[in-house]
């Protein structure tokens, strides 16, 4: 009795399936985007323009020297304490007259410190020989101070942290950017930003030799 051999499966279309997969992955692969600390440079100043006068108490001086040591408001400081010090300065709200008073600040209202977060400026001066990682760590801590305060205000006004709002904005589907909800969210973010604007000034670095 002849044994019937099993019919062979036709594998000819396997290649097509593989190609289909190959093309699918080629098309859908997105390259991971870099991330970094965003910053804005001031536009070049014409020579004859005088910089506006700013009250000493509205400036928070941060200096990084060539040995990567940190000097904050003329005192030595560890970088771990920088965020807290910056928050304390920004949130002080020492202004008393109607023009300068800050209604939402919860700080110590120290008359020797900043009047209003809108006027408060953090000035970062670094030596040319300071290392980049120290510079970035300091910038990071200062940005974190602004982020903490914005989160707090977002929570107070809209019951949502600033961080979560900006994340929602960047994740918004591109097809629905015309919707009123999107505009509303954008408005909220701008409002919070306005309460604590990022006035981070970087002076020309000094080279004291």
């Amino acid at each position: 009795m002849a044994r019937r051999s099993a019919p062979e499966v036709n594998a000819g279309s396997m290649a097509d399936i593989a190609f289909l997969l190959l093309i699918f992955f080629l098309v859908t692969t997105t390259i991971e985007v870099d991330s970094g600390i965003a910053s804005k440079l001031p536009p070049p100043l014409p020579d004859e323009v005088q910089p506006p006068l700013i009250k000493e108490k509205n400036i928070f001086q941060v200096i990084v020297n060539a040995e990567n040591r940190l000097l904050v408001e003329d005192a030595d400081m560890d970088i771990k304490d920088l965020t807290a010090a910056a928050v304390k300065f920004l949130d002080n709200g020492g202004g008393t007259d109607a023009r300068n008073a800050c209604t939402y600040c919860r700080g110590a209202k120290d008359p020797e410190s900043s009047d209003n977060p809108k006027k408060a400026i953090i000035s970062l001066v670094n030596d040319r020989q300071a290392s980049y990682k120290m510079y970035l760590a300091v910038t990071n801590e200062l940005v974190r101070a602004y982020a903490t305060l914005r989160d707090r205000e977002g929570q107070r006004l809209y019951n949502e942290t600033y961080g979560s709002m900006t994340k929602r904005l960047s994740d918004w589907p591109a097809t629905e950017v015309e919707s009123p909800e999107y505009e509303e969210l954008k408005g909220k973010i701008d409002k919070v930003r306005e309460l604590f604007p990022r006035n981070l000034s970087e002076a020309e670095p000094q080279n004291r030799e």
């Binding site: 390259i31 600390i37 990084v64 290392s131 990682k133 970035l136 760590a137």
Partner: protein, 161 residues
């Protein structure tokens, strides 16, 4: 009337295509593993520092990248040991930054020109001095949106090593 009857005719048997998918898969895996998503060949050391207050960069077509760091060992003969700037795929003097940024900006779509971001990829061990010079050039070129590209992590960890 032969006893040994030819079983098959003379025609050639079909080549089996069963192994074709394996070959295609092999190609697929090779390319998946070998692909490096980098546009510029680096001629400098470029180890990015860590930070955690980061924002995602804009789309790739709106980004111009400038690298800063010490030249890698094969280029130290030509460029020395101090930090240099790499624009595109070659090392260039700081004064070329303006021209480089303007050229890149001119190649962009009209809509993207305003949203152009300069991504600064600076080696974590370089000194701030050269970065400041580059930033000054960028100000003069009106390329004001910048981003210090970094790896996500705790910045205080940078300082320990």
């Amino acid at each position: 009337m032969s006893k040994f009857k030819k079983k098959k005719s003379g025609e050639l048997p079909a080549v089996s295509t069963a192994s074709l998918p394996d070959i295609v898969f092999m190609l697929l895996f090779f390319f998946m593993v070998a692909t490096v998503m980098r546009d510029d060949e680096l001629q400098i050391e470029n180890k990015l520092p860590q930070a955690n207050q980061v924002e995602k960069l804009a789309e790739k077509k709106k980004v111009v990248t400038i690298y800063i760091g010490k030249p890698s060992p094969n280029f130290q003969k030509t460029y020395g040991l101090t930090e240099v700037v790499q624009l595109g795929d070659k090392i260039a003097p700081v004064s070329d930054v303006q021209t480089f940024v303007n050229t890149k900006r001119n190649l962009m779509d009209e809509d993207d020109k305003d949203a152009m971001t300069v991504s600064l990829k600076v080696d974590q061990n370089s000194q701030v001095g050269i970065l400041t010079d580059v930033k000054q050039e960028l100000r003069d070129a009106y390329a004001l949106k910048i981003s210090y590209t970094s790896v996500e992590g705790d910045p205080l960890k940078n300082l320990k090593n």
